[in-house]
Amino acid sequence: MSQLEEKRMKELLQSVRPPVTDLELRDDLWPRMLRELDWRHSRIPGLDWTLFAALVICVLLFPKAMLGLLYHL
């Protein structure tokens, strides 16, 4: 492929998908960022839910194991 072909492709692409000229950010995104930080910090991770579910299943299947668990806590 020649440079000419690349140039023709570039011109074709630019005519169909013009370069973005307005790159200005209109809003301050910090308030959104703060909400995101709060939300992500307050969210319980999926792994924690999985461990909790596993614990509940174990307790239901082996109720006597609760005694051993409580002993170790």
Partner: protein
């Protein structure tokens, strides 16, 4: 203590200061790749969340902007991967000029279709190199590639586009 060191140790004030300084360039970089201002805003917040989450791995001796741009690139690529073809890169008329009206609608549709079928990493590099005409060095740093790697990706993207357009009945 320097701001970058404080950030790396989890200081939220240092993070806010960095956010306020770099939110606009990060947004601009993402916008160039995804070409939709609403998505670019969401992805800017996602980028800074990943930055905050990875703060302990950041080396304060290195450039924060270059690191942020690499993370922003990965976030934008994830977006291109997850976006459905029908909605990805939706025309965002508030940004940039309208396409050349002289170009026939049929051809425009074919080029758009062929472009959207490119794998995201080729789509992004081709957008930045061929449409936005950014320096290859800048693209290479953001994509963690060599300049030769960027050239190769552009070459392959153009070749794929030509093949796809040929299949759609248009010879470049």
């Amino acid at each position: 203590m320097e701001r970058l060191e404080r950030f790396a140790q989890g200081d939220v004030d240092a993070f806010e200061s960095l956010f306020r300084q770099f939110q606009a360039p990060v947004y601009g970089w993402i916008l160039r790749i995804v070409r939709n201002s609403a998505s670019a805003e969401d992805l800017t917040v996602e980028t800074f969340w990943r930055i905050y989450r990875s703060r302990a791995r950041f080396d304060p001796q290195r450039s924060f902007e270059a690191w942020a741009r690499r993370i922003a690139t990965n976030v934008a690529l994830d977006h291109l991967r997850s976006a459905r073809p029908e909605v990805e890169l939706a025309a965002d008329l508030s940004n940039g000029p309208m396409p050349d009206p002289a170009i026939q609608r049929d051809l425009r549709d074919k080029v758009q279709t062929a472009f959207r079928q490119l794998p995201p990493k080729f789509q992004a590099v081709a957008t930045l190199a061929l449409i936005e005409e950014l320096p290859y060095e800048e693209i290479a740093e953001a994509f963690n590639l060599s300049v030769g790697g960027v050239k190769s990706r552009v070459f392959r993207a153009v070749r794929m586009l030509r093949k796809k357009l040929k299949r759609l009945g248009y010879e470049v």
